[in-house]
């Protein structure tokens, strides 16, 4: 089995960087995609996949995150060179072209990127390919010698189990695994590995984002309220002032 893992670099949501929206702020691999990389590596390590290929669509500044993914254990890493602000559908169309070139049996990727939280690309890619999909997955097992994947999905209604015929697109949820730690020597070694470069032109795909962010503004914020001294004081406020109890 060959697994393709699309991943995205995102601004580190955990950092309070002084660099605002500039390139200088710290970047990381989207945490949900990191979980997808980890899962693909575990599938390979238990002998159920022979190759794990990572792909990202980004400018060259994403090299650090690609190196980190290689250091985790990717067999190959591809970068589609594109510096535009793409929307999820444009990303899905580029990934469609990459899938046609790489011919994986499974596309494994994060359920959403934590910068725009769209939660769309995996489902769109599955639709474009007319492949089955399993989203928000917290457990994957292969059946029939790798012809099907049985997936446990995290839904609002609780856990759901479905089986999808491969090839398929699977998107990962938080509890699938805990990604491995990348050592410094591992990172150093990954520095010498090649990153295969692609362009939309080479992939013969033309995309034009159709989603335009016209403006952004800070979200309205609530202000700090009152510190109360005791449980009794709190209940009086909730009962008599707010009338929520």
């Amino acid at each position: 089995m060959k697994i393709l893992v699309p991943f995205k670099r995102v601004p580190d949501p955990g950092s309070s960087s002084p660099y605002g929206m500039s390139e200088a702020r710290p970047w990381i691999i989207n945490p949900f995609d990191e979980i997808a990389i980890e899962e693909a590596l575990r599938i390979r390590e238990r002998g159920e996949a022979r190759e794990v290929v990572g792909v990202t669509i980004a400018p060259s500044a994403a090299e650090e995150q690609i190196r980190a993914a290689l250091a985790m254990g990717l067999d190959r890493a591809l970068r589609v060179d594109d510096r535009r602000e793409l929307d999820p559908y444009a990303v899905a169309r580029i990934l469609l072209a990459v899938v046609r070139q790489e011919k994986p049996d499974l596309v494994l990727m994060g359920k959403q990127a934590v910068d725009d939280d769209a939660n769309q690309v995996g489902q769109m890619l599955a639709g474009l390919l007319n492949w089955p999909q399993a989203t928000f997955v917290s457990k994957i097992e292969f059946l029939n010698g790798g012809q099907r994947a049985q997936c446990t999905r995290e839904t609002d209604r609780g856990l759901e189990v479905i089986a999808v015929n491969l090839p398929a697109v699977v998107t990962t949820d938080l509890r699938l695994n805990e990604p491995r730690y990348v050592s410094l020597p591992g990172l150093m070694k990954a520095r010498r590995r090649p990153i295969e470069l692609l362009t939309c032109q080479q992939l013969a795909v033309e995309v034009q984002p159709r989603t335009t962010v016209a403006a952004t503004s800070p979200a309205p914020r609530r202000s700090a309220g009152l510190k109360v001294e005791s449980v009794e004081d709190l209940l009086v406020r909730l009962r008599q002032h707010e009338k929520v109890l």
Binding site: Y89, Q133, T155, G158, A219
Partner: protein, 319 residues
């Protein structure tokens, strides 16, 4: 011809109330709208939504649709949108719509926006507002093209009250034999909880990592929720540590809530969690760290050891 197709969600018995929020978005977009109900044996469910002002209630009722398999549902929804000439397909944000509607967008060759919070029509062109960067930013977004797919953030649109003349019900014509057949439903672990649904509860009590383990979480968070007749929520860290199921996760990567009362226990206030609670009417925070970010947005804060405070709170509520 209809302008907007609203996809409703149900549990096999009832329409999920929050899924009607998308009707409010459809009304703001203007023009006529249809409600779409898919499933098996759903005639009564379709009948129950005839009083929401739709031009028509469209029903796809077939054993092949008994479970919401994304490939089949998306195929039927996209085909319906095409047949009816709908330029917008919309649903309330949930794991059901997040699974299916992006696939519909791909089948319709259309762009999509998730978690729309508001829409404003400027010179006949809709401008949509949605959160970015874990809810710290609000983006105004425009879409190109003739067709689009949207999910509405449930907490930003009020489900309409039923009134008016009943809408006609029409079956959706589709060929069941040509539906995708690569997905098999295996099982669903039914939640045995008798607590209210997170998106519909008047009170939500959430716990974070300091709850330590599953038993303590259930005793304190579950106990307080039960005393208040509320739902149980959890932070991503608490879910990650196995203290609560993922379905309880509140925040940008989980469920966005807006109850009358939100009580955050041992929740420091990661931005992605705060983004999921900020439309709550009253927020109470209980935390031992007086500088925890959650206090910056809580109406009432109680500083102290949750292991001592929560049992006292449960006792006082029950008294």
């Amino acid at each position: 011809m209809i302008q907007t197709l609203v996809i409703l969600e149900h549990d096999g018995h009832c329409v999920k109330r929050a899924s009607l929020s998308a009707v409010a978005l459809a009304r703001q977009l203007g023009g006529s709208y249809a409600l779409g109900v898919l499933g098996s044996g759903v005639a009564e469910i379709a009948d129950s939504v005839r009083s929401f002002g739709a031009s028509v209630v469209l029903v796809a009722d077939h054993p092949a649709l008994a479970e919401p398999r994304a490939d089949c549902y998306a195929a039927v929804i996209a085909e319906t949108a095409r047949q009816r000439g709908a330029s917008t397909v919309v649903g309330t944000s949930s794991t059901f719509t997040k699974d299916i509607l992006p696939r519909v967008a791909a089948l319709l060759d259309a762009p999509m926006l998730s978690d729309v919070m508001a829409v404003e029509i400027k010179d006949g062109v809709p401008c949509y507002q949605r959160p970015l960067s874990a809810g710290s930013l609000c983006a105004t977004v425009k879409l190109q093209g003739d067709v689009r797919v949207l999910t509405a953030r449930g907490t930003a649109f009020h489900p309409p009250s039923p009134n008016g003349a009943p809408s006609p019900v029409e079956p959706i014509a589709f060929d069941a034999a040509s539906l995708p057949n690569g997905t098999q439903f295996v099982s669903r672990e039914r939640s045995t909880s008798t607590r209210p649904d997170l998106t519909e509860a008047r009170v939500v009590v959430s716990g974070g990592r300091p709850l330590k383990d599953k038993e303590t979480f259930e005793r304190l968070i579950g106990g307080l929720a039960d005393a208040l007749g509320g739902a149980v929520g959890a932070t991503r860290a608490a879910v990650d540590a196995g203290m609560a199921p993922n379905a309880c996760q509140v925040g940008q990567t989980g469920t966005v809530v807006a109850p009358e009362l939100y009580i955050a226990v041992g929740v420091s206030g990661a931005i992605q969690h705060l983004a999921g609670i900020q439309d709550s009417r009253v927020i109470v925070a209980i935390n031992r760290d007086p500088d925890a970010p959650i206090f910056q947005m809580a109406n009432y804060g109680l500083v102290g050891d949750l292991h001592a405070l929560v049992p006292r709170l449960i006792e006082a509520v029950r008294a």
